[in-house]
Each structure stands twice: as structure tokens, then as C-alpha cells.
């Protein structure tokens, strides 16, 4: 049954929250149906808890999908209860029949050993847990769920039936992708996992013919820390420290999303001042990240002066962060249920004194870049993401906005917070979806972010440390924030003030699956660094 209730916490003010429990078949069908609409987006999809042992029995192995309808202003939590099927196949039968039909050329990998499966199953049955050996695949209808379901399958052993490309994803040390293209003249180039620069670990397998990239498969999860599981049993305050460390360059965004989820789950009432501070940290984070992306793009195109200048601006912004909050990467700035311990008078003074000078310099070099033919030529038709792909893969952030999709958490679910700051969702004018469009979106967002920072500062002068008490020990919450790379979403279940289950969807988790498509399709090998830089993906955010 639908149980609409008005969301009470500030970030969701005016939104309705529904909770629905269905049979897992119906649930997937309903989610897929909702996602067919342009206005609905998938915020979270996954099992409520990875292994279930530590959590309440009703959450164990329960499928959760949270969708957001931005015109109706409602969030729907859908739970798929998978009741044990009496006609259930024996584990042996399960393993002797093919789980999925792999795409041609894909190698079928050995699955979990039947013994392991059998014992985990027996354990589940003995402990009276409801088990769902398989569930209908959402990915068969919504490609955005492709990687998510591969991960779910590998973690729990539950099979998404109908998944078009079911391969292990979590263990690159054991399984690496196989080349797809064969025939004379094709060449397979593995790149990584150790790469130049300070890039995190990732493996890329290129299938090329001559210079052309025919196919590219990224393999990540070298940095998988299973954070969602680590946090189980922690207090929300301790888990916040983990949330800050999901991805260093999106610290404030993850901390904000986590706090919003935890506050909803535990019944804290954050004040407007509180939320304003978080918005400010979010924009400070965007500023240094965008300028870092400019620098990377300049480096990929050989514009060394611009690269050095943007790198300098980034360092100045990081030091500014440290002066205001005490941490270069804004750690510890966002707090649960209370204000940041920041001297805003001083912070305002420093920011208003230094930002305009940095801005002038950044703008000058951005203008120069946009008038440099060699730079533009390298970016123009490079790494195109088709609008259709962006929609069906649920792509977020500047990558989506470069395709002309107005996907921005600040203007859909957080609009009432950002309205007064003059924020506008910046889509690319040309909506070409290539590296240049992504660059242009970031250029426009640089202006907007700076504007928001300067707009927010005066309202922060009066820092009163409001401590709000938590009013409930049990509940679920969903928190959303717009990181420099796009929407991050945290889903949190708490019981007794402790984390029972936690789900993280970083912006890069939505963008990575489309990266391979953008890198193939008409690009040549030497385009890859540019595509890489223009996506600006975070490895740790996906790996978590």
C-alpha cells in the first residue's frame, strides 16, 4: 500500500515520500515503468543490506529501489520482498543450468562454487531468513542498472534473471575482461591498472583497429573497501567519518548526503543555517574540482601554461579551504545535526578577499583556451555521449548536462534550498555531448558556483551553534547532494541509533558504465586522455 507522508527534513521540504512493498516481480516492473518517464530518476537501487546477518530480519536480502519524480515532487521507496519459493530449484540444478546467455564473445566465468552457495543457503534457511535466489533483472530494461546488478550478484549470489552481461565485477585480481573484437588487424591493448600521474587504479582494455578504438572495457573496483558493510553497527556520527572518505575530492558532497540521510533517519532537525553551510562547502568543493578538471584537460591537450595556471588556482583554493575549515579537502566541515565549527567572520573575510583574484585569473585562461583553435579542435567531436545513452544509463552531473539534460540535484530535489542563491542548472548551449560541451558546462558552472559562494557568505555571519537532539532511534533516510561530478545519494537504515544498512551511489557510479561507450565510437587512441580528463571520473567513488 502507498503510504504518502510529507517529508519532514529540510532538504526534502514539500516532497512526498511513499513506501511500497511488493512482490519482487511487480517491484522491478514498476520501477522500470517509472523510469521510462523523463522526469523520474533512479536514486538508489540495491539490496538493503549486503549480507543480512547483522541487520533486522525484515531488511535481510530485501531489494530496495528509490525513485524520484521531479515534477510530482515525490520520492518512492520500493521494497521487493522475495518470499521463499516453494518450487525452488536445488542448488545443484541451479548451478548446472546456465545463469544467463552471455553476449557473443563474452567469456562465461565460473560462478561461486556450488558448495559455498549451498552452505550460505542452508545458513539462511536455518536462521529463518527469507531468501530470494533470483530476481528479475532491472538492467534488462534500464542499462543504468548493469553494473549495479553485477555487483549485487557477486556479493550475494542472487541472480538477476535476464541480465544481458552478467560477469564478475568486484575482483579484478581474479577476473579481467576479455577482448571482444576479433579478426585480422584488430589489436588488444590493456592499459593499467597502474597509470601515470596520480590517477587511481583502473584497468582499461582497448580493442583497436589501426588508430580507431572499436571497443573499450573499463575494469575498476581495485579500491573496493566495502564501506557500506564497514559502517554496520557504527553510530551515525562515526559512519560520517567513513562517508567523508569515500572519495577525497567529493568529501563535502558525500558528507552532506550522508548527514541528510542520517538526519532523516534519526529525526534530527537541521537548521537553515546548517544547510547553508553545507551548500557553501559543496560549492567550494566544486570550485577546486572544476579548476582541477580544467587543468587536466589542458594537460591532455598539451596546453602547459594553462595547465600550470589552473593547477596554481587549485592549490590556492585548497589552501583557502584549509584556512576556512581547517582541512584542505573540507574534512570535518559537515557535521551531523549541527553547524560547522567555523569562524564565519574570518572565513567570509578570507573568501571575499581571495576569490575574486583567483576568479579573474581562471577566467582569463579559460577565455584564452576557448579562443585557441588547437585546443578546441582536439575537444570538438571527441568522446561523444549520445543523449539517448545519457538518459538510459542515468548519467548525472556535467556529463549529463553536456548532453542537454537538465539533471542537477540542486535544481530538482534541492531547489527550495538553492532558489535564493541564484543557482541555475547549466546545460550546454550546443548539447553536443562531447568533450567541448563538458568543458563548457564546467566553465559556466565555475561562474555559478562562485556566485553562490558569494551569495551565501553574508547569511553565515551569525554562527550560532545549534545542537538538535535526535528524536527517534529507528528509521530510514535518503540524502542527496550535488557533488562536482553529479548527484550523490545515500540511503541509510538506522536502528537503536546505529547504522543497520547503508547504500552509497556516487556520481561516478552512474557515469562509469557510459565511459566505455564514449571512448569507443569513432575515437582514436590519442583521444583517450582527453575523454578521460573531460569525464573527470572518480574511481574511489564507484569502488567505495
Amino acid at each position: 500500500m502507498m503510504q504518502p507522508r510529507l517529508a519532514e527534513t529540510l532538504p526534502w521540504q514539500g516532497w512526498r515520500m511513499h513506501t511500497r512493498r511488493d512482490d519482487v516481480q511487480d517491484m522491478i516492473a514498476l520501477v522500470a515503468q517509472a523510469l521510462a518517464s523523463d522526469d523520474t530518476e533512479l536514486l538508489y537501487y540495491g539490496f538493503a543490506s549486503g549480507d543480512g546477518e547483522d541487520s533486522g530480519a525484515e531488511l535481510a536480502r530485501e531489494l530496495v529501489a528509490v525513485t524520484m519524480d521531479r515534477t510530482q515532487r515525490e520520492v518512492v521507496w520500493r521494497f521487493g520482498r522475495c518470499d521463499a519459493d516453494p518450487r525452488e530449484k536445488s542448488p545443484q540444478a541451479y548451478f548446472s543450468s546456465p545463469v544467463s546467455t552471455p553476449q557473443s564473445g563474452m567469456k562465461v566465468y565460473p560462478e561461486k562454487s556450488p558448495q559455498a552457495y549451498f552452505s550460505s543457503r542452508l545458513l539462511a534457511l536455518q536462521s529463518g531468513m527469507k531468501v530470494c535466489p533470483e530476481f528479475p533483472s532491472l538492467a534488462s530494461q534500464y542499462p543504468g542498472a548493469l553494473w549495479i546488478e553485477r555487483e549485487m550478484w557477486e556479493k550475494t549470489g542472487y541472480t538477476p534473471v535476464g541480465h544481458p552481461d552478467l560477469r564478475p565485477i568486484l575482483h579484478p585480481e581474479k577476473f579481467l575482461p576479455d577482448p571482444v573484437a576479433r579478426g585480422s588487424g584488430t589489436f588488444h591493448l590493456p592499459l593499467g591498472p597502474v597509470r601515470a600521474d596520480v590517477t587511481e587504479s583502473g584497468f582499461f582494455l582497448f580493442d583497436t583497429i589501426g588508430e580507431q578504438i572499436m571497443h573499450m572495457q573499463p575494469q575498476l573496483f581495485y579500491k573496493h573497501r566495502d564501506m557500506e558493510k564497514l559502517a554496520v553497527g557504527m553510530t551515525a556520527e562515526d559512519a560520517l567519518l567513513l562517508a567523508e572518505r569515500i572519495s577525497g575530492t567529493s568529501t563535502a558532497a558525500h558528507a552532506t548526503a550522508f548527514c541528510r540521510a542520517a538526519e532523516q533517519a534519526l529525526g534530527y532537525r537541521p537548521s537553515l543555517q546548517n544547510e547553508r553551510e553545507r551548500m557553501l562547502f559543496g560549492e567550494m568543493e566544486r570550485l577546486y574540482n572544476h579548476v582541477h578538471d580544467f587543468s587536466q584537460l589542458a594537460s591532455a591537450t598539451g596546453m602547459t601554461v594553462a595547465q600550470a595556471q589552473f593547477a596554481r588556482a587549485k592549490e590556492e583554493l585548497l589552501r583557502l579551504n584549509a584556512e576556512v575549515t581547517g582541512s584542505r579537502y573540507l574534512r570535518g566541515a559537515v557535521r551531523l545535526g549541527r553547524s560547522a565549527s567555523v569562524d564565519w567572520e574570518r572565513g567570509t573575510e578570507r573568501l571575499t578577499a581571495e576569490l575574486p583574484a583567483i576568479d579573474r585569473r581562471v577566467r582569463r585562461f579559460l577565455r584564452l583556451l576557448l579562443h585557441t583553435p588547437t585546443f578546441i579542435d582536439r575537444l570538438r567531436p571527441t568522446g561523444i555521449v549520445e543523449r539517448e545513452w545519457a538518459k538510459s544509463y542515468g548519467v548525472v552531473g556535467p556529463v549529463a548536462r553536456a548532453c542537454g539534460l537538465a539533471v542537477d540535484a540542486r535544481s530538482d530535489c534541492l531547489r527550495h534550498l538553492y532558489e535564493s542563491t541564484g543557482h541555475a542548472c547549466m546545460t550546454a548551449e550546443d548539447a553536443f555531448g562531447d568533450a567541448l560541451s563538458r568543458f563548457r558546462v564546467r566553465v559556466r558552472e565555475w561562474d555559478i558556483s562562485l556566485h553562490i559562494v558569494l551569495e551565501l557568505l553574508p547569511s553565515l555571519g551569525t554562527s550560532t551553534l545549534v545542537e538538535t537532539e535526535l528524536s527517534q532511534a529507528r528509521g530510514k533516510g535518503i540524502g542527496v547532494a550535488e557533488s562536482p561530478r553529479g548527484r550523490v545519494c545515500h540511503v541509510l537504515f538506522c536502528d537503536n541509533g546505529k547504522v543497520v544498512a547503508w547504500g552509497i551511489r556516487a556520481a561516478s557510479a552512474w557515469n562509469w558504465p557510459v565511459f566505455g561507450l564514449a571512448a569507443a565510437n569513432g575515437n582514436i587512441q590519442t583521444d583517450f586522455p582527453i575523454i578521460d580528463a573531460s569525464f573527470g571520473l572518480s574511481y574511489a567513488g564507484l569502488d567505495r
Binding site: 562515526d238 601554461v305 582541512s327 570535518g332 579562443h371
Partner: protein, 118 residues
């Protein structure tokens, strides 16, 4: 275009900053998170706040025969600042140096003998 690049590159001159050894050198903010350090012994025998709030167990109270010593392992510290904020005696404060390198991991551990009133 080339001339403009050349000019703008030259116009910014040489930009260097000294590598800050002490945080005051570069950043005027006093509470700049580095790692905590202990200013003196803890005189509160009943309080266990710091070892309780430290999320990484970097702080432990070593219960010796008569007095309790504090043990701080900055190698395990994630600079969350809880000990600095919560200690009622002000035993912890942010260290002056912004970086620290040691050859052996054990060198990151420091201990402070128990309270004076024992």
C-alpha cells in the same frame, strides 16, 4: 593567440611559496588540522573520553599499576579532531608541524605518564 599566451604566462611571473614547516608560516588559522599532540599529563583519573571518542583507537589509556598513562599513535590518527574538541582538560591540541616522517612506524607512538595527583 600565441602572443597572448606568452604574455599571460609571463605576466603571472614566478609563483613560489615556501614549503611550510610550521602551519603558522603559511596559514594564519590557528586550528589547522594536522595531527594532535599531547600537551601534558592527564590529571583526570576517571575520565576516559578521549579513548572513547577516538574512532581509530589511536588513543588508548594504558592502565599501569597505579596511574593511567595515555598512549597516542599518530600513525593511526585520521585527524578528525574529536580529542582536541572534547578533552575537558585540554590535553590535546593540534601539532605545530604540518607533516611528519619517521623511518619506523613505532616512532609515531608517544606516551604520557599518568596524572600528577596519583
Amino acid at each position: 593567440m600565441r602572443a597572448e599566451w606568452l604574455l599571460s604566462g609571463l605576466a603571472s611571473g614566478r609563483v613560489t611559496t615556501t614549503y611550510p614547516r610550521q602551519r603558522e608560516q603559511e596559514l594564519s588559522r590557528r586550528r589547522w588540522n594536522s595531527v594532535p599532540t599531547m600537551n601534558g599529563p592527564c590529571s583526570d583519573t576517571a575520565c576516559r573520553e578521549c579513548s572513547k571518542v577516538c574512532p581509530t583507537e589511536a588513543i588508548t589509556r594504558v592502565e599501569a599499576q597505579r596511574d593511567a598513562a595515555l598512549r597516542l599513535d599518530v600513525g593511526a590518527c585520521i585527524a578528525c579532531g574529536r580529542c582536541v574538541d572534547r578533552c575537558p582538560e585540554g590535553v590535546f591540541s593540534w601539532a605545530e608541524a604540518i607533516d611528519r616522517a619517521e623511518v619506523r612506524k613505532e616512532r609515531f607512538i608517544s606516551t604520557m605518564e599518568g596524572g600528577a595527583d596519583q
